[in-house]
Symmetry: C2
Subunit: 304 residues, 2 copies
């Protein structure tokens, strides 16, 4: 299987620090590279992380606050400069289209752009994908969408079942392609008889929002959930006021939703140390917990 991993390019909300660049997350997913919320400096963080512009196939913006989008022009400029020839879909809230246009139009036009303005929650029909992609509305101070990627369920061939039916060689591929196979004795074997369900993977990206049903929906059964945890519960009032989550809220929703790998990020500069975020989240979440650091790579957990 080709690598599926999250490359963390930046983890700061609002103000970058010496340790943390503004947001930026590349999800490598087989041959795809989905860049989420490129904040200012993403282009350079890509250099540090060894991410080429050519590896980007989609760009997804949750909303148009600067720490989530000011890196877009630099990325578009780089796609141009590196003469990337494949198309790049750009998903963004349609309500912020004027901001998108300003960001797009401060650099030379990258001809590969395919704009995918998101006007309402629901599936986004991205071309040429092996997964479903969906936007779900969140609750921030401006129109904000979270995204999730859902790989359809597949079938996993069981070698012992194949052997029991005496199926081998090119017949295996034929059975997988056609769904059934007629044996020499005229019995028909279906794919279901020699395979089991291989659950598709799910990845969800939740940024910036108060707790709301959209967060819960996005998190549902996510193998990996990348979620903002701007504040600690001691600052829950601020979190609510500014439309953000606390580490405890993020962990609780992840636990309830059956998340496997939880990646907390988008930290307020007010916290010099993030050990408290880890401790607070660990109280509620018992899966794989990652407090994101810039340039970290987090593998999507292998299939269930």
């Amino acid at each position: 299987m080709t690598a599926r991993e999250l490359v963390v390019l930046g983890t700061a909300s609002q103000v970058p620090t010496r340790q943390r660049n503004h947001n930026g997350y590349l999800l490598r997913w087989d041959g795809e590279g989905l860049l989420f919320d490129p904040g200012e400096g993403t282009q350079r963080q890509m250099s540090f992380a060894g991410v080429s512009a050519a590896s980007i196939t989609r760009i997804c913006l949750t909303h148009f606050h600067g720490d989530h989008c000011l890196g877009l022009p630099g990325v578009l400029a780089r796609l141009n400069l590196d003469q990337v020839t494949h198309p790049v879909d750009i998903c963004f809230p349609a309500a912020g289209r004027e901001f998108y246009c300003r960001l797009r139009d401060v650099v030379p036009y990258f001809a590969g752009v395919r704009e995918q303005p998101v006007a309402a929650a629901g599936p986004i029909p991205l071309p040429d994908t092996a997964f479903e992609f969906e936007a779900i509305r969140l609750d921030h101070r401006v129109e904000t969408f979270g995204y999730r990627l859902i790989e359809p369920d597949g079938r996993r061939i069981l070698p012992d079942r194949l052997a029991a039916f005496g199926i081998s060689g090119p017949d295996v591929g034929r059975l997988q392609r056609e769904g059934s196979l007629r044996l020499p004795d005229d019995r028909v074997v279906t794919l279901d008889e020699v395979s089991t369900v291989r659950h598709g993977q799910r990845f969800a990206f939740v940024m910036d929002t108060r707790m709301c049903s959209g967060v819960e929906e996005l998190a549902q059964h996510a193998d990996m959930l990348v979620i903002e945890a701007t504040f600690l519960d001691t600052d829950a009032g601020l979190a609510h006021e500014y439309g953000h989550l606390t580490a405890a809220q993020a962990a609780q929703v992840a636990q309830a939703a059956g998340v496997r790998t939880l990646v907390l990020t988008h930290f307020s500069q007010r916290y010099a140390d993030l050990e408290d975020h880890r401790l607070e989240a660990a109280k509620y979440f018992d899966g794989e917990l990652v407090v994101a650091e810039d340039l970290m790579r987090v593998p999507v957990p292998t299939r269930r």
Copy 2:
């Protein structure tokens, strides 16, 4: 005297590298902070360099290529966030006003902005300055202006001359303010008789351009010249084609103009090592030569 120094925030042209952020230069000049050509990531470089948004009093853009301006929104956002109350003049080529507006309008409006679009070469009447500020047209692929700061000449009091006239105490200040002083014996002493010329300092900023008369004019008698040296002379053809200078050209013009401290910057990523830039420039320039590195501080040389 308050510090006058250049804080180098970034030194890369076009593409940032691990060692070099995109352009960005803060000139600290007594109580002023002039930010030149903030490329993407300038906001974070300011953190690394210990430069606060509040220390910025003017922002000067030479032209609207991304590596010279994509950091502007982040800086404006930061001026807002840090609740800076003083006005900030922003000089930029008037021909690129649409780009300026896009960059300004992707972030919340900073009320302190005083726009100073530059339509033609000549003095820019900046309010509240103790220096003259001037734009001079350069020769790049889009409308580009270089800038220079000229401190008017002053007078330096000569203590032995004061003593010879028997002038002391409050009379010294009166003579400086009024230009002349009547002595007890009715003789009138002029300021010129007890002082000598104190030459004003000059700072020039030259970015991106082919060699042209504007470069020569800007460099004239500069105490500090910050100038692009994108290429080496072996790539002089490329330099001319793309509207840039070589290290040799920058050094030659600096030498002819009587520059004291020459700061080379804006290097192409094609050169992994800049020792050749230093050697090439040193062949032609015998003053203080600085090959800029990110986060370097270069003092403006003390007055002649």
